[in-house]
Symmetry: C2
Subunit: 325 residues, 2 copies
């Protein structure tokens, strides 16, 4: 990745390391320290700082909001893992597996509140506006997770419904972070709007790339098992597109695989990937991703700052959709 991203990422890591979660009761705060220390790309807080930096804001005044967004993101992961019954996240045991479900629920709740504590530390003159953006995407993320769960046992999810779901579950948080960064740099409403839209569109592309990599990723670089989504019947852009584009025969084969409980995983992956190939789903996904990337760049283009300062955000957008892991 590019230098400013790295710089901000290191800043975020440093800030997270010095957070003091070693107070009583231990069982409430240890899991928070645990999940935050596991790391990840820190994409959301870094983008928030980049949003601030783009308008020549002082990133020191945006650090706490950035941490707030990262804490909130990790809170949603913590609770999502309980709801999805996931035992591994980023190669580490999930909180409810390492401790128990009650601990995961309550530590998650405390994290959500902690996130607001960080947000509340921003400059008073921006607080109402920042909080408005934060509350909005926070609720949307819950809505997205609910739609995701609703769709689990539904075989007729449309591409449109799926795209709305990932917009709520994933894209708006990235958008909101960029928006908050811009607000904290004193950007005007129009610029904040375009930053939000830019973030929403790269968020969409980001999730589509995630879906794509599950099927067409390089196993060594992806870091996850290829075909995991296929095995678990997870609704992805590839799957809902395949269902929409399938002829009767292919649809029946897909539906048969959904109801199969006793199967050879490799055979299921091969068969469904075969259908995807037949229907050209890989290309369709790539082209949808590029559509969002184009939209993102159009919005970035409308942001009123010198074009050469936008280069890094453009590169991040490109890299997100070309990433291999």
């Amino acid at each position: 990745m590019i230098s400013k991203y790295k710089l901000f990422q290191e800043r975020i890591e440093k800030e997270i390391k010095i957070l003091d979660f070693f107070t009583e009761p231990k069982r409430l705060y240890e899991p928070i320290d645990y999940i935050l220390s596991i790391g990840g790309k820190r994409l959301r807080p870094v983008l928030l700082l980049m949003g601030c930096d783009l308008f020549h804001g002082d990133i020191e005044k945006a650090i706490e909001a950035a941490i707030g967004v990262e804490v909130f993101h990790n809170f949603t992961l913590l609770h999502d893992d309980v709801m999805d019954n996931a035992s591994i996240r980023r190669n580490r045991t999930t909180v409810h597996t390492k401790w128990d479900i009650n601990t995961a629920i309550l530590s998650g709740d405390a994290m959500a509140i902690k996130a607001y504590e960080f947000i509340a530390k921003c400059e008073t003159k921006y607080l109402k506006q920042v909080l408005g953006v934060f509350n909005r995407f926070a609720l949307q993320v819950c809505e997205g997770q609910q739609f995701d769960m609703d769709y689990e046992n539904k075989n007729d999810v449309s591409v449109k419904q799926y795209l709305n779901m990932i917009r709520l579950k994933t894209a708006v948080l990235i958008a909101g972070g960029l928006n908050i960064g811009a607000i904290l740099a004193g950007a005007d409403e129009k610029n904040c709007y375009h930053m939000h839209r830019f973030g929403e569109n790269i968020g969409m592309a980001f999730q589509l790339q995630d879906d794509y990599l599950d099927v067409y990723g390089d196993v060594d670089k992806f870091g996850k098992q290829i075909g995991g989504d296929i095995i678990s019947n997870k609704k992805t852009f590839l799957l809902v597109s395949a269902i929409e584009n399938a002829g009767n025969e292919e649809r029946e084969e897909l539906l048969n695989w959904f109801s199969e409980t006793d199967f050879d995983p490799q055979e299921k992956i091969q068969s469904i990937t075969g259908i995807y190939n037949q229907l050209n789903i890989g290309e369709k996904t790539k082209s949808k991703m590029e559509e969002y990337l184009r939209l993102a760049l159009l919005d970035l283009n409308k942001v009123d700052v010198l074009n050469n300062t936008k280069t890094e955000l453009e590169e991040i957008a490109w890299n997100l959709t070309k990433r291999l892991s």
Copy 2:
């Protein structure tokens, strides 16, 4: 109860009735509507409005914060019921029993965010201060719930530890509501402090009365089964005081009852109530309650408004500790 309480209570009920939770996804919002409509005393939001009214504030400007506090309180009940595996609350099926655990987790999360949405609607000039109070008690409530769970399987909880736990779990939310009400009326720091302390102390007395009623309440008026806490080995002021005050023989009898899994409920209730009577625990609880009530009234006394305007709050404090249900 007294007339202003009733007036404000009706105002809160009306406000909750018109909340629009009928948006999509239904499964996220229906449980929120369900738990909020069940009702209860609306003690916390009413006290917030009374705190505002005491300083001649415009309660119309405090209504949304009051709703925020009530929504937050109900969010904690929703998640606590999951953690405590409780199937009934206020004579109605709990959310995780009526729907499922995932629904309870996610709807709860959405409620916490909704609470912040309401809080964020207060006058901009008070937002930072209000949010500071809110964040602080919100986190403390989580800490209290964690201590409560930690103490479940611990037989040497001291009276001091127990009192700190109920302070965090119950008292600070009542205190915070009164504090926010005062802030929104433009009260100064000293007055806000005394309102907070008044709330914390009546909150303590309130919880002690709850503990007392479980053993010495009138079954017809209490509305819950007498001895429920005794049967489930729940740590209460009565129990931890009994353990602290017990001689060897009584302590052994208490510990035996804790480990007993196959018992006649009435026999257990009778035996433990017998120990409480022997050790004068009922009187000790009453006297601790009165101690908190006295402290509460001392703080209310220090609030800089005309004494005759405080009468209703004084009566509420008295009534909370004399209530039969």
